[in-house]
């Protein structure tokens, strides 16, 4: 399986390094002032916000490798965050149980999505488009337009397991990415995901329980989106229904930039996480360039196209 992952991940790392070098050079301060981009607090900031995308992007990459697509992560993030925040702030539950409940909501959403795809046989695009509306809608019903202020309940020195709060998101992301990388590369389950994405019929004919595999990938995607939603609420300090609007496309773009093929059967979990870092750096550095504020969406869009085109050219050259 080596070839399937490593070469592609390496090129994603190279892009990330070049990107960081570029912004370091571009934003180099005059006359000995501190660097606005290349400093430790800023790096942590990038890492923290990228992690929210990154956790969900792991799930999105797995779905894409299985030949499907999940449009719901952004909305599931909002619903999970809102449920967690409501239980914590309004119902007075403990932090742990509230956020666990939020994650369970993501699991249920994933199960429902899988049911629509596996049993009702809806195309994944339609099923998850529908679920995107359903989950976002429930989030609005729960909040009735209000927002739940989590930060005022979290006492200033919140240190989960003795760690600084800023570290929570990156640690969860790195752990998730490593765990699922191992699952995808060294477990039969991971190979089955690649098989289903490569040729669903042949996978079925090879004795793979295709429906079970598909169910598992949508459940994983739902759970990971919920985890990142809960983390987002903790990081931002408030739960509201329009949280993470439009994140699904950034998440899918990260997975694709990280080497996942929308045709299925190809991609990498680590690559997807690196993809979110590429966008995280862009989102952080572009606003610091004077006059670039209005260009950042354009640049992000161009970056997706350029990276995927270059990837395809490289792939063609190799074969």
């Amino acid at each position: 399986m080596k070839k399937l992952w490593e070469i592609r991940e390496l090129s994603t790392v190279v892009i990330l390094v070049l990107e960081i070098l570029f912004f370091t050079w571009w934003l180099w301060p005059e006359g000995g002032r501190s660097h606005p981009f290349l400093n430790w607090p800023n790096a942590l900031l990038i890492l923290k916000y990228s992690s929210i995308y990154g956790i969900a992007a792991v799930g999105a990459a797995i779905v894409i490798i299985s030949g499907g697509i999940d449009l719901a992560p952004g909305a599931v993030m909002a619903l999970a965050g809102v449920v967690g925040a409501q239980l914590y702030v309004v119902q007075g539950w403990g932090l742990g149980p509230s956020m666990t409940m939020g994650v369970i909501v993501g699991l249920l959403s994933g199960l429902l999505t899988a049911g629509l795809i596996v049993l009702v046989k809806l195309p994944p695009f339609i099923a998850t488009l529908g679920m995107m509306g359903v989950t976002r809608g429930i989030a609005f019903i729960i909040t009735e337009g209000q927002y739940f202020d989590v930060s005022s309940h979290l006492i200033g020195g919140w240190r989960p397991m003795g760690l600084p709060a800023d570290w929570v998101a990156p640690i969860i992301m790195v752990t998730t990415a490593l765990v699922f990388h191992v699952f995808m590369t060294t477990f039969q389950w991971g190979r089955a995901v690649f098989s289903v994405g490569g040729n669903e019929t042949a996978a079925l004919f090879s004795g793979i329980a295709v429906n079970r595999i598909k169910t598992s990938v949508y459940v994983i995607s739902g759970v990971l989106a919920a985890v990142s939603g809960v983390v987002l609420v903790l990081v931002q300090g408030q739960g509201k229904a329009d949280l993470a609007t439009g994140y699904e496309l950034d998440i899918i773009a990260s997975a694709v930039v990280g080497g996942a093929s929308l045709a299925g059967g190809r991609g990498s979990v680590i690559g997807a996480v690196l993809g979110t870092l590429i966008f995280g750096v862009l989102r952080n550095a572009l606003p610091q360039i004077p006059g670039a504020t209005f260009y950042d969406r354009l640049i992000v869009g161009l970056v997706v196209i350029v990276i995927v085109v270059v990837d395809q050219l490289l792939l063609k050259k190799r074969s």
Partner: protein, 502 residues
């Protein structure tokens, strides 16, 4: 071969794909207006040569001349514009379009950007009449039979007034009657002066149609022979480069008299595919399941393999009743299926052949981890045992020839040591050498004690391979023949005629 011939001339054509030398300097000529057969085993370089002619692949070196003029074929469109029409083995058909739409796909007649539907329909009608195809120009392509879709490709080539028509295994999925129809059309084209380049594994067809025959082997040119001057045996020897070993005398594993059959199917039904099917396959026995396309044989095998839910009946493996609710369950019960379409149902092209080879076995065993080292060893072993020609186990299946791909599909199931081996058209689109080897593999498995059920519409294959032949027609078993009763006539009679009420 006359170098002065102004027809189609290949001169020292070379092409490599990575380390694989697909064509190592092929030179031969096709006389204008003749029917020229091109044969060779899979991997001999035929497909590459055709792709060069079709403009899909560019040669590394060498020239192609037509009527003394050098051809630059940069794309399929350029090839078509130079009068080279292709009829491919896999039927390229836009199922969502009409017959007219298919014939003019990509080269629609337009005036100022608007389609000239009336004129295209009229031209299609004329073409169809010329080919004696009783099909409406407005019929949706998906309503056509396999044979008509094939003839549609011929019509498409003719619509652009091609002077060279290249046919790549056009009869793979045609019945005899349909093949006859195709051949009568080809004869007519030949009489009109169209040059035919005909590629097939079926020697019989090549001898029937072609004036001269060129043999390729391992990417090299072997010879061009006049049909009247050679025997089929001579051509086979030229293709294979060795004498075919005599059919191995296989000693049957002694079977305990009381042992239950490897596979017993009782009253199995699934409408509309088939009804009330009862059959047994004993351990060590090869049973042929003969039926034409549409007879329900594929559906039967796929139902036994758990792909479809059955409506009625019982299935027993080694006497034990099983409930094949999925291919996974069937495989766990000891059933293996080598499916009909290896590209669509057999192989994973995003994974290397190692993964392809070990996947069913590991899935059946319910392993949790992928153990790369032991898988590599096992895959290498399988590649060696079944003589699969591949540049190692970590290459993807698209680097292999059709025959070797098929051997992978067979080998991956044999790795599970099944009690029952179901094979659906195991040698479809496979050359003589690989066909022979696949037959040997089936015989060896049977000798090992496996019950083999081979569904095929290739009658000589069934006759050569099977101990007993079951004939299916329109979803029912029409009869069983064994030993001396199993003649070509008897089998065809059962397969094509209504059973008299008796």
């Amino acid at each position: 071969m006359s170098s002065t011939s102004p027809g189609l001339q290949f001169t020292d054509v070379r092409k490599s794909f990575g380390a694989v030398r697909a064509l190592r300097g092929v030179s031969f000529g096709v006389v204008e207006g003749e029917a020229h057969g091109l044969i060779g085993e899979n991997g001999a370089g035929k497909s590459t040569l055709l792709k060069i002619l079709a403009g899909i692949v560019q040669p590394d070196a060498g020239d192609v001349h037509w009527r003394g003029e050098r051809l630059h074929l940069g794309s399929p469109r350029e090839a078509l514009e130079r009068g080279i029409g292709m009829v491919y083995q896999e039927m390229l058909c836009f199922e969502n379009l009409t017959v007219t739409g298919n014939i003019f796909a990509g080269r629609e007649l337009t005036r100022g950007g608007r389609l000239r539907n009336g004129e295209m329909r009229e031209r299609t009608r004329a073409l169809l009449a010329e080919l004696h195809l009783p099909v409406s120009p407005d019929a949706p392509a998906q309503s056509l039979s396999a044979a008509y879709r094939q003839l549609l490709q011929v019509a498409r080539a003719l619509a652009f007034e091609c002077s060279i028509l290249v046919l790549d295994e056009p009869t793979t999925s045609l019945t005899d009657a349909e093949t006859d129809h195709l051949f009568s059309v080809l004869e007519k084209l030949k009489a009109r002066g169209v040059t035919l380049l005909y590629v097939s594994h079926r020697l019989q067809e090549v001898f029937r149609l072609c004036d001269r025959i060129t043999v390729l082997r391992d990417g090299g040119y072997v010879e061009t022979a006049d049909r009247r001057g050679v025997t089929p045996d001579h051509i086979v020897r030229a293709m294979v480069g060795r004498e075919l070993p005599p059919r191995a005398a296989v000693t049957k594993a002694p079977r305990a008299a009381e042992a239950p059959p490897a596979l017993a199917v009782d009253g199995l039904g699934r409408r509309p595919g088939f009804v009330n099917i009862s059959l047994t396959v004993n351990a060590g026995e090869i049973v042929g399941l003969f039926g034409l396309v549409g007879s329900g044989r594929s559906e039967l095998l796929e139902t036994i393999f758990g792909l479809y839910k059955r409506e009625a009946g019982r299935i027993r493996v080694n006497g034990r009743e099983i409930e094949p609710s999925s291919p996974r369950a069937a495989a766990r019960a000891g059933i293996a299926l080598v499916p009909e379409e290896r590209q669509r149902q057999g192989l994973l092209f995003n994974l290397t052949i190692r993964h392809n080879l070990v996947l069913p076995d590991r899935t059946v065993k319910g392993d949790v981890l992928v153990r790369t080292a032991s898988e590599r060893r096992e895959a290498a072993q399988l590649v060696e045992t079944w003589r699969i020609k591949a540049a190692g186990v970590e290459v993807q299946p698209d680097a292999l020839s059709g025959g070797n791909q098929q051997k992978i599909v067979v080998a991956k199931w044999l790795a599970t040591s099944p009690s029952v081996l179901l094979l659906d058209e195991p040698t479809k689109g496979v050359d003589v050498g690989a066909k022979f080897e696949i037959h040997e593999i089936v015989r060896r498995e049977a000798a090992r004690g496996c019950g083999c059920l081979v569904a095929s519409s290739d009658l000589p294959e069934v006759l050569a391979l099977a101990d007993r032949i079951i004939v299916m027609r329109e979803g029912r078993i029409q009869g069983q023949l064994s030993g001396a009763d199993a003649t070509e006539e008897a089998v065809m009679h059962l397969a094509t005629h209504e059973m008299s009420e008796a």
